[in-house]
Subunit: 211 residues, 2 copies
């Protein structure tokens, strides 16, 4: 298997953290997003969306979408469980993971992409070479949605030390990647959110956070 990666990008980081928690090592091929390699013909032949990460199976099948990649490895090597151990846990984790993704990752992306000159014609991820202009109003909407994201975090942490209860899961991975992505646009965990700030320190200290 091969893993098409980009070290600076938030979505590949979710997969790298996940793989590190599982102790899975893969052959990695670094794609230089900042230099535009993801929009070059070679990489567009691998993923027409120009997005990372992509997993290439030994039979040549290519899987994009970070959640598809993580779920693949969750089934291949179930321990430690990152998506829950029973039906109820799995449902809660899937639901919360998606909130972290929509309200955290996607909002951070919209704030970042719509105010950053380098992305001024690439408002939406996965547009490839399409010309989708920046929409400044999405900066405000993204900031409002990130308020809600931070509210979710603090609420979940009232229930337990991790975002889905007693142990570390995919919810924590997506959330910390979103928190760090929001910081690119100078948006940070509100000072009053004491539980979230403490959670952030603990998760950041895990070896997988450096993966």
């Amino acid at each position: 298997m091969k893993f098409y990666d980009c070290h600076v990008a938030p979505n590949p980081r979710r997969a790298r953290m996940f793989l590190a928690e599982k102790g899975i090592e893969l052959e990695k091929i670094e794609i230089d997003i900042l230099g535009g390699e993801n929009l070059g013909d070679d990489f567009l032949a691998i993923n027409p969306r120009g997005l990372l990460p992509v997993l290439e199976l030994d039979d040549g099948t290519r899987i994009d979408e970070v959640m598809a990649i993580c779920r693949y490895f969750e089934e291949l090597q179930p321990e430690p469980a990152m998506f829950g151990r029973d039906l109820r846990e799995k449902a809660i984790i899937t639901s919360r993971q998606r909130k972290m993704e929509f309200d955290g990752m996607i909002s951070s992306s919209e704030v970042f992409r719509n105010q950053n000159e380098q992305f001024c014609k690439r408002s939406i991820p996965g547009g490839g070479k399409d010309d989708i202009p920046a929409i400044p109003a999405l900066i405000d909407r993204g900031q409002q949605t990130l308020d809600r994201f931070f509210w979710w975090l603090e609420s979940y942490l009232e229930e337990g030390p991790y975002l889905a209860g007693e142990y570390f899961t995919m919810v924590d991975i997506t959330a910390i990647c979103a928190v760090d992505f929001a910081a690119w646009s100078d948006i940070h965990i509100p000072e009053a959110n004491i539980r979230t700030k403490s959670w952030y320190e603990i998760i950041s200290a895990r070896p997988s956070a450096e993966a």
Copy 2:
């Protein structure tokens, strides 16, 4: 178990189609979105996002997010398989389902919500009572992304009769719900996309499409 539903809304329809394909019947509680019941205090106590569907388990746990609900039932009753039968199929289905969701459902939602007067202060789903104003530029961006969605459909159907190959899956469910949602904004399958038009007729004729 109880299923909080809304007959006119596209996301609950995805769950209803899925349940119908599995032959699972649940107690359903209809919430009147058009009358604003989803943003009333009673329903916000059930789901603070004001979104449908919500599954309530017998122990009182509430699961929102349609994909969390569908995956719950996929594990509870694996046949007929809607998310794939082996690791490779599952990865392809998860990946394609997400494209149908992002490029199809979400784009349809953005086009609809940002040009419809009733939603002019509710640009983003799940904002509950938050005041997130409409962003007209999202109508154009959504239309461009729907072009890409229709391109995916036609490409996938070059490989087999259904969107993930030889049998009907969650990818087909999300896709047909997105096609019908786009039609609310008078956006339709391009005439040249002959495979997609034929697929649409076949999927629409399944009994689950009326669920």
